[in-house]
């Protein structure tokens, strides 16, 4: 196939650019430890309020400077609605939903997970700055979707 020299050069440079971007992503995942939620267990949605650890939503210390943050989404609120955590601590968010699909996003951070009926979502994060952060349900979940939010106070 005849390809013009300039076009060939453009394709090569473009291809290299894409490979470089991929390399940056690998670096972020492997070296910086930025992970996505993966498979973290299944649960029966109708029974979340009686299934551990969701029978006791909230913040639980699990080790030195290490906490589990257990959260349930339900149309149209989070349980609990307000969370207090220490700055710099390793926070293991464990979340699920009682009814429909919800979103769990802490504004200004990469804590961003979907809560899907039947699935448990997990993500680890450390807050570097104290302050009040908004938690937003960012997936449409019915007529009251815009009322679903929470607060996380880092101190």
């Amino acid at each position: 196939m005849k390809v013009h020299t300039y076009e060939r050069a453009f394709m090569t440079l473009g291809g290299m650019l894409l490979v470089l971007c991929m390399a940056a992503l690998v670096y972020a995942t492997v070296a910086m430890g930025i992970h996505l939620p993966g498979r973290a267990g299944e649960i029966e949605p109708g029974k979340v309020f009686t299934t551990p650890p969701f029978d006791n939503p909230g913040v639980h210390q699990t080790g030195p400077n290490q906490y589990d943050v257990v959260i349930i989404g339900q149309a149209w609120r989070f349980h609990p609605m307000e969370i207090r955590v220490p700055v710099g601590a390793e926070l293991n968010f464990i979340a699920t939903t009682f009814d429909v699909i919800h979103g769990f996003h802490i504004e200004g951070t990469r804590v961003n997970m979907m809560l899907i009926p039947g699935q448990i979502s997990r993500l680890t994060y450390r807050f570097r700055k104290p302050g009040e952060y908004l938690i937003i349900c960012h997936e449409y979940c019915g007529a009251g979707h815009h009322n679903m939010y929470g607060k996380i106070i880092v101190e």
């Binding site: 196939m1 005849k2 390809v3 013009h4 020299t5 300039y6 076009e7 453009f10 394709m11 473009g14 291809g15 894409l18 971007c21 991929m22 940056a24 992503l25 995942t29 930025i34 992970h35 996505l36 939620p37 993966g38 498979r39 299944e42 029966e44 949605p45 149309a75 009814d99 429909v100 699909i101 979103g103 996003h105 504004e107 200004g108 990469r110 804590v111 961003n112 997970m113 979907m114 809560l115 899907i116 009926p117 039947g118 699935q119 448990i120 979502s121 997990r122 908004l134 937003i136 349900c137 960012h138 997936e139 449409y140 979940c141 019915g142 007529a143 979707h145 815009h146 009322n147 939010y149």
Partner: protein, 561 residues
């Protein structure tokens, strides 16, 4: 390169004339009009949503509207599904018929139109009566009335019938032309819908085997993660199903309108085959933040998503080179002097040039969405609609409008009414779109959620203010732009000078001719490439289904809207 190409630019010649019979042109016209009718409803809701981000609530003025989310469902379905596929159902078969100089099958043409209309009526019923306010993504366990799902299935079937029509005349043409390579325009048009056919199968499975029986009450529960995965299995490729008809115009028609040529026949075919291979096995990049899907698989889809960016990079160069050729043919000199020499006064071309410019930003933001660590910052914020209004809302929508400026006159035989109004529409829409997207993108980076009725939300971040205002201002301009487009189309049909429409489609010649030997010939073996595409899909999706199935039927339906 510039001088080299300019030197070999002859005037583009007219091919042998061919027109479809009036009976067939009429069906194609009406198919287009179905799309425009949907777009009319879609843009009113779009205006209401953009204004609601700016804190202005005009929803009370809409008759029969019970919630913001009902309007948002109408906006998504009308603009992204009905408008786009109605256009492609008319445009692609016309391209193939013209490229092969063969009539379409009239029964299939009517069947495709009929299923499109039937599907529309069912969807309109469900959406207008607030029985389907689930948004166009239809995530279970939010449950819609069965008419909504069945209606969408009919819309998909109409696209399959359009494809069948193209394949049928291609087969007839091959029989009559043994040993002749199929023309470029026919190849890329058929590949576009072959890709879509393959891509549409998962959503067909989702609707037929899961959501429809569940909405009818035949089964009590469904699997939210599996149905969502099936949706995105189709859902990323669907954006390429919207985009490829626009690429058909950019590659094969725009060069002629600009006074240039298609740069390379083989490279163009290769680009469309790459889209056939890579568009589908990329869906997990919409599910990066989902539980229940292994991180490694998400990474595989990230790589393939970067891969599907490559044919778009080639397109950026090839189409630009065609334009440069046209600009120089019109007397453009110097490094960039060819740009102002392009025929900007042609509303059909100017719409598509502006579409290409905004698509650069659409592409870059898309690459950021695909970058999975960065995706966590912007997932489900207004960044995402900010991005896709610069792809489907500009590259696609503006190109479809640009094409309409010659296609409606071509199909009606009437001269385009109001060239200057059409030009104004292009610019107002583009400027509005850039302001709108700038607003959505910046506020999205600050965490403003998408798909949310912020006017009534108990929370609000002052950092979103600038973005919200820009969204409202830009959205209003976009509305004005499209309203002017409708004025032009309606006036053309109603008052356009009869008998003065274009006599042929604006198709281009090629600079580097079709290959007569070598591997590039194999690009025409579409069946073979479909098999390769299926193998890639099995590699990308197989591990998930193997480890996940059988379905996890956990959720009853919720109608809480």
């Amino acid at each position: 390169m510039a001088e080299h190409i300019a030197a070999s630019t002859p005037v583009v010649a007219d091919p042998t004339p061919f027109t479809l019979p009036e009976t067939q042109q009429r069906v194609l016209r009406w198919t287009l009009y179905v799309g425009y009718a949907a777009l009319t409803a879609g843009i009113f809701h779009g205006l209401a949503q953009a204004l609601s981000y700016a804190g202005i609530d005009i929803l009370g003025f809409f008759p029969a509207l019970r919630s913001y989310y009902q309007g948002l469902t109408a906006h998504g379905v009308a603009n992204a599904i009905i408008f786009t596929f109605a256009f492609s159902n008319a445009f692609l078969p016309l391209m193939v018929a013209r490229a092969l100089s063969r009539r379409l099958d009239e029964r299939l043409l009517w069947a495709s139109f009929g299923t499109l209309v039937l599907g529309n009526l069912l969807v309109i019923y469900a959406v207008v009566t607030n029985k389907a306010s689930v948004l166009y993504t239809s995530y279970a366990p939010l449950q819609a009335h069965w008419t909504y799902y069945v209606g969408l299935v009919f819309v998909v079937i109409s696209t399959w019938l359009a494809l069948m029509n193209m394949l049928l005349i291609w087969r007839g043409w091959k029989r009559d032309h043994p040993g002749v390579r199929m023309p470029l325009l026919a190849h890329i048009s058929i590949v576009s819908y072959v890709m879509w056919f393959l891509a549409s199968l998962p959503i067909a499975v989702e609707f037929l085997f899961f959501l429809i029986p569940w909405s009818l009450g035949w089964v009590e529960r469904t699997d939210p993660l599996l149905t969502r995965t099936l949706f995105w299995f189709t859902g990323h490729a669907i954006v390429y199903a919207w985009l490829l008809p626009a690429y058909v115009s950019w590659y094969a028609l725009v060069p002629r309108q600009a006074g240039g040529k298609v740069i390379s026949d083989s490279l163009t075919r290769l680009v469309f085959i790459l889209f056939l291979l890579l568009s589908i096995p990329t869906g997990f990049h919409h599910q990066y933040t989902d539980p229940g899907i292994h991180e490694g698989l998400k990474f595989v889809h990230a790589i393939l998503t970067f891969g599907v960016f490559f044919p778009s990079l080639i397109t950026a160069f090839s189409v630009m080179a065609s334009l440069e050729m046209g600009g120089r043919a019109h007397g453009g000199r110097g490094l960039l002097g060819w740009i102002p020499k392009l025929p900007w006064g042609d509303p059909s071309l100017s719409a598509q040039l502006l579409a290409m410019i905004t698509f650069v930003f659409g592409g870059i933001t898309g690459l950021i969405n695909a970058s999975f660590t960065m995706n966590q910052v912007i997932h489900n914020t207004t960044w995402v609609p900010g991005h896709f209004h610069m792809t489907v809302g500009s590259a696609v929508a503006m190109t479809f409008m640009g094409v309409a400026y010659w296609m409606v006159p071509y199909l009606t035989g009437k001269k385009l009414w109001g060239r200057k109004v059409a030009l104004a529409s292009n610019w107002i829409y583009t400027i509005g779109l850039l302001i709108f997207s700038r607003g959505m993108i910046s506020a999205g980076l600050e965490g403003m959620p998408r798909r949310t009725f912020l006017v009534q939300a108990p929370y609000m971040d002052p950092d979103w203010l600038v973005g919200r205002v820009l969204t409202g201002v830009g959205g209003t301009l976009m509305f004005v732009g499209i309203a002017l487009f409708f004025v032009v189309i309606i006036m053309t049909i109603w008052k356009g000078k009869a008998g003065e429409g274009p006599k042929d489609i604006p198709w281009s010649e090629t600079l580097i001719e079709p290959a007569k030997n070598g591997w590039a010939m194999r690009l025409d073996r579409i069946g073979f490439w479909v098999i390769v595409a299926i193998i890639l899909i099995v590699i990308a999706y197989g591990p998930f289904f193997l480890s996940y199935l059988p379905p996890n039927y956990v959720s009853p339906g919720f109608r809480i809207y």
